[in-house]
């Protein structure tokens, strides 16, 4: 996952695009090393000390990890559950919409 996300963020660094996480780790201190090692530069909401049972994932009824939503520039949900190349394609489609 991380290498793919890193390359997406890098490729679109000058575009109106953001990768945002909802992180479900219980222990934030332990996570700091991973962020450095994996060069995870994108911002994440923290789901809280309850981990995968935290309030954000509960509200969004997330039962599988990772779960991905893609939102357009107006904040509307446009894709759900897209991964890998399908995720890239979804983002490219929405970026193209802004330009047209």
């Amino acid at each position: 996952m991380y290498p793919h996300e890193r390359s997406l963020v890098k490729r679109l660094e000058n575009e109106p695009f953001a990768l945002l996480g909802v992180n479900s780790d219980r222990d934030l201190d332990a996570l700091q090393d991973v962020l450095k090692e994996e060069n995870i530069t994108w911002r994440s909401f923290w789901n809280g000390p309850e981990g995968t049972s935290g309030p954000i994932s509960k509200a969004w009824n997330v039962s599988g990890w990772p779960t991905i939503y893609v939102l357009d520039s107006e904040g509307k949900i446009r894709y759900k559950g897209v991964r890998g190349e399908a995720m890239d394609e979804a983002v490219d489609n929405l970026l193209a919409e802004i330009k047209n």
């Binding site: 945002l20 939503y69 893609v70 520039s73 904040g75």
Partner: protein, 314 residues
């Protein structure tokens, strides 16, 4: 003692050999030719008949144990394989065949119709039979003979995963016919979840967003005919049915406990997703701290395309 000829019978048939001197030849034929654990009757010197058969429960347990052992031995062999080629060979030649155990369990279930042993046997068939016909027939028998069983919850969760009409009809029968609120609640929740998953699958088929792997997986599980049906199905109508069923869970079965709290809270979450997290809907606001404790909002990113990724490094 008269020597036994032919194959060695299963352990279940050997228990009554203590009075072998009076064994009749007819019994020997039964012992050596019958693969199933039939009642074995031995006659003692006084001429009285003594039944020493295994109970139906024991017969069921033994058939299941033997198969489970064979399966574990098979997995052990697979894990020990050194090359992919060896592994494929083992899978091809040594995979345990469930046909015989399914036939044995079916026989016990019909000989002891309506009993606890029959229920255990039929449930095992539903969960393990490779033949869809065997599984379907076991489900029918459970619904006909065991609709009052308090342990039908497991079957509901099982049926939920199959997105075919037979499974939803079975769930509807349980919802209508079980005397236990716990079972009926689970049936209602399972029916709702199945409907929801069906709507999602149909949507993906219709908007072309399903990947090849995804398509292959579901085609293999549901069959091409069902997939063709779903391509034409009314996605919104399916979604509305799911909403109605979840609402019924909340109003009728809300307090019943499940693994994640109550059926009511699970249904509420599913309803929130159906009403607020569908494609085309404005994403609900998130306001929380980031990993450094600095608070921010999802709507801060309006104007940008956003990938929202629920992740964890666990």
């Amino acid at each position: 003692m008269e020597m036994m000829r032919g194959p060695i019978p299963p352990r279940s048939l050997l228990v009554s050999f203590q009075t072998e001197t009076t064994m009749r030849s007819g019994l020997l034929i039964l012992l050596t030719s019958c693969a199933l654990a039939a009642p074995v009757v031995a006659q003692d010197d006084t001429g009285s008949i003594e039944a020493t058969e295994l109970t139906a429960e024991e017969q069921v347990a033994e058939l299941i144990d033997e198969y489970t052992e064979a399966q574990q031995a098979f997995y052990k062999k697979i894990r020990a394989a050194e090359t992919d080629e060896d592994r494929d060979k083992i899978i091809e030649s040594d995979a345990p065949d469930s046909t015989a155990v399914v036939a044995g369990l079916m026989k016990i279930a019909s000989d002891h119709k309506g009993s606890g042993a029959a229920f255990t046997a039929l449930n095992w068939i539903v969960q393990n039979a490779e033949e869809p016909a065997a599984s379907a027939s076991a489900i029918d028998t459970i619904l006909a003979d065991h609709i009052e069983n308090a342990e039908l919850k497991g079957l509901c969760s099982m049926l939920q995963r199959n997105m075919n009409t037979a499974s939803s009809q079975a769930l509807e029968k349980i919802l209508a016919g079980s005397p236990h609120d716990e079972v009926r609640g689970q049936a209602c929740y399972s029916l709702a979840s199945q409907m929801n998953a069906t709507a999602n699958l149909a949507r993906k088929l219709q908007n072309g967003s399903a990947s090849e792997d995804y398509l292959n997986y579901y085609t293999q599980n549901l069959g091409e005919e069902r997939m063709a049906e779903l391509k034409k199905a009314d996605v919104n109508a399916l979604g509305e049915q799911a909403v109605k069923l979840y609402e019924r869970v909340v109003s009728e079965f809300g307090d019943i406990e499940n693994r994640r709290g109550t059926l009511g809270s699970s249904a509420e979450r599913a309803l929130f997703e159906l009403k607020n997290l569908q494609i085309g809907m404005l994403a609900p606001e998130i306001e929380a701290g980031d990993l450094d404790g600095v608070s921010f909002k999802l709507s801060d990113y309006r104007g940008k395309v956003v990938v929202l990724d629920f992740w964890g490094n666990w």
